[in-house]
Amino acid sequence: MSGFILRRIAQSILVIWLAYTAVFLAVQALPNDPVTIFLSTDASADPATIAQMKAHYGYDRPLLEQYFSQLGGLLTGNFGYSLSSGTPVAERIAEVAGSTLWLASSAFVFAVVLALVIVTVGTLSKSEWIKKVFLNLPPLMVAIPVFWLGLVLLQILAVQLDVMSLFPDGSFLSLAVPIFVLAVHLSAPIAQVLFKSVQSIQQQPFVDVLRAKGASESWIYFRHLLKNAAPSALSIAAITIGTLLAGSVITETVFARAGLGQLILNAVTVQDIPLVQGLVILMAVAFTGVNLLVDLIHPKLDPRIVTAGSQSARALAA
């Protein structure tokens, strides 16, 4: 058991290190150094200033030295300086990370609840008609673009009905609507996978045995189907962290919210490479972290995973 955990943690650290290296190499592959790129989006800069700024931020040092000093900085939480604001990248990220974390985690919780409700109603309902509607909900939800839903809701609620602000003003709706918009998109794949695995488990012989013993449909569903279907839904939920991030870029733009999504968008727009670099690494850490967490929860749900080794654990989850 502890061997499994240690192995997974070591793998995660390796992934993050590789991500850092890939980002570092990608930046080197750019036609110019970050300072020159940043300054040339404005009027053409004075070469002396560029040289001086490069020296100040350490971009004039040998590549290997840059690689290790940045890596060392990373370990101590120093992500370098954001060129567009002159402040440390870590500080810039910390300023707005809370907002995104709140939006994303609320949306995630809401998405999971939404997916559970859809699958439960779709499975347990006696009416064929309701079953059909709920079965068709996830494909519909995944087809609705985040920005479109956000725009339409804001147009109706903020502009036409004037019951909410176009800006984040701390009111209930200004929090609830972006969470809802993001959650709708997010819950679709979770619901779909959960539906599919509930359906396939339903076909298994042990369910017939339970029925023959006189168990009610809802008891079978909550005690057996859901529990057996949970690992695959959990894996999908972990993968959706990417969707969550992409969705929050759009949601934050549409709802004029501060956050990591907006920050990435602006960093890319103004070519603030160190900030982009910091954000990409942060995302790699978040992605790896969530997946690690899921892998650590998996054995609790399905003890076969540890005994069968980590390779087949992946296969089972998929």
């Binding site: 404005d42 549409v254 920050l263 070519q271």
Partner: protein, 543 residues
């Protein structure tokens, strides 16, 4: 497949619902509430004025205020020595009550107005002005702040007498005085100049003498300013010579273009920048106001020509492309009545403007003839070719303008008709990063702050437009900047326009620069020649 159809039908229904709601509101808005407090039309004091910019601002360093989103706000936080009055086209006094130069235009003496203070209480005196000039002209090395490009002729300055500053230039610079009107030459307290880069970039630490003072900030969401009650040093020509009418100024960000008209109409903001042409009618129909703020300080929107790829080396090809653009069609399809078709590389109202509209008239037959003469023959696919090379050219631009990409899409079609293929990379900022300095990317869609002369924009020292394409032209730019009388300067500015547009054809002017603002029906505001809102004179009908 069935799911997709269902989803599509539902989306279509909701979309129609959304559209019909928009239509209802634009026709059914009551107009009885107009201007209840302004029956005599005089400004009303009080209230909070909310202004929505396009994108959050993280670097407020004064000299980086070359971007609208910064300049539009800093214009009301920082005063300048002089002010360019868009109505008369004259430079008038602001913090400098008097300014004069020697005959050779190498020495300027500014007399500083008495009693002006920064918001921290220190005096805006001659010494403070000198400190600002040094920062503008020489940069601040310890804070990695580069010199301001408009002050490249600056050599030194000294405090003379009690309240005068004498600036010495390395060479005559006809555009120097106009540059002192720019927001990028905004005066800050000497304490601000001593901060490091991060400090000078932070709005909470910038201390100015303007009508508004920083109050609070929420990163990437809003900045709040309160008015300075003791402000009494507005530009000479300003109607309001005292403190601002509004109590508080709130800057918010509305990155989503589709919400801008609605935000102004519903009163969630009083003013918003970056209205799309299609939203202008919706806003006016709903009772709001559309303000086209004319960018007299800037060049026209244009496609600057780089000849590095060789395809445009022959002036005949460039002429063919110049008259191969149907500018009226661009205005009719992509733009609106707020936009004016360019008749030169500078704005119609700019000093020295020369009307070249006859030379810019659409003439596709002439284009074809010129291209034939240049040896570019129509190939099998309708694209002209010469020596085995297709006449395929590329345009790059930033995504700052809401209309530049669709405009080039139309030009793409127009040029296709004369056998030229345009690769449209307008609005692709990542592509622009390299394209900006690549002479092989034939066109750069842009507009630049020019402050009265074409030389500073196209001249050899700072040129990112044509990348120093032409020696004779470069000589002309230097001559313009060295002009010592206004008459001579204006004549040379005229020569430059003719050379750039008709003789050398290194700029394809499209439309005059304008920033289109949307305002709520209760908001009243005017704009500078650099399209910045003047919040000091703004007021709201609702007390």
């Amino acid at each position: 497949m069935r799911f997709k159809t269902l989803a599509f039908k539902t989306s279509a229904t909701i979309a129609v619902l959304g559209l019909s709601l928009t239509a209802c509101s634009s026709s059914g808005s009551p107009s009885s509430a107009t201007n209840r407090a302004s029956e005599d039309g005089s400004p009303v004091s009080g209230g909070t004025f909310t202004y929505a910019e396009v994108t959050p601002i993280n670097n407020w360093q004064t000299q980086a205020a070359r971007f609208y989103e910064k300049a539009n706000v800093l214009n009301s936080v920082l005063d300048r020595l002089t002010y360019y009055d868009p109505e008369t086209g004259e430079i008038v006094g602001w913090i400098a009550s008097k300014f004069e130069s020697n005959k050779a235009k190498t020495e300027y003496t500014f007399t500083i107005r008495d009693g002006v203070t920064f918001s921290n209480g220190t005096a805006l005196d001659a010494a403070a002005v000198k400190a600002n000039f040094d920062a503008l002209g020489l940069g601040i090395e310890s804070a990695q702040i580069q010199p301001n490009v408009d002050f490249s002729a600056y050599k030194s300055s000294e405090v003379v007498g009690e309240n005068q500053v004498r600036v010495t230039l390395k060479r005559p610079d006809a555009n120097f005085l106009r540059a002192t009107t720019s927001v990028t030459a905004g005066l800050v307290a000497p304490e601000t100049l001593k901060l490091d880069n991060a400090g000078q970039s932070s709005i909470s630490k910038i201390v100015g003498s303007g009508p508004f003072v920083f109050k609070s900030e929420k990163a990437d969401e809003e900045v709040v300013f309160s008015k300075r009650a003791d402000y009494k040093w507005a530009p000479e020509t300003a109607e309001n010579q005292g403190a601002a009418y509004i109590d508080e100024l709130v800057i918010k960000y509305l990155p989503e273009v589709a919400h801008r008209a609605g935000a102004a109409q519903s009163g969630q903001v009083d003013l918003v920048r970056g209205l799309q042409p299609v939203d202008e009618q919706t806003l006016t129909a709903g009772g709001g106001t559309v303000y086209p703020a004319s960018g007299i300080d800037l060049t026209a929107n244009m496609a600057a020509v780089r000849i590095g790829s060789g395809k445009l080396a022959d002036v005949k090809v460039r002429q063919a492309l110049q008259v191969g653009i149907d500018r009226q069609a661009i205005k009719d399809t992509v733009l609106s009545d707020s936009y004016e078709i360019a008749a030169s590389v500078v704005n119609h109202k700019a000093p020295g403007f020369v009307d070249l509209s006859a030379e810019l008239a659409y003439d596709p037959e002439k284009s074809k003839k010129l291209l034939d003469e240049a040896g570019w023959k129509v190939g099998a696919d309708g694209i002209r070719e010469k020596d085995g090379k297709d006449l395929e050219v590329t345009v790059s631009s930033s995504n700052n303008s809401v209309v530049i990409k669709p405009a080039f899409e139309l030009i793409e079609q127009q040029w296709r008709a004369i056998g030229v293929k345009l690769v449209n990379r307008a609005g692709d900022n990542t592509f622009l990063t390299n394209a900006l300095v690549d002479p092989k990317i034939e066109f750069f869609g842009t507009r630049q702050f020019a402050y009265g002369g074409v030389g500073p924009v196209f001249g050899p020292a700072t040129n990112t437009q044509t990348l120093n394409a032409d020696e004779a032209l470069n000589a002309l730019f230097l001559k313009e900047q060295a002009a010592t009388t206004e008459a001579e300067h204006l004549k040379l500015v005229g020569d430059e326009q003719r050379a750039l547009v008709t003789e050398k054809v290194l700029s394809l002017p499209l439309w005059d620069e304008v920033q289109v603002y949307g305002a709520n029906e209760n908001a009243h505001i005017e704009f500078t020649s650099g399209t910045a809102p003047i919040f000091q004179g703004a007021w709201k009908s609702e007390g």
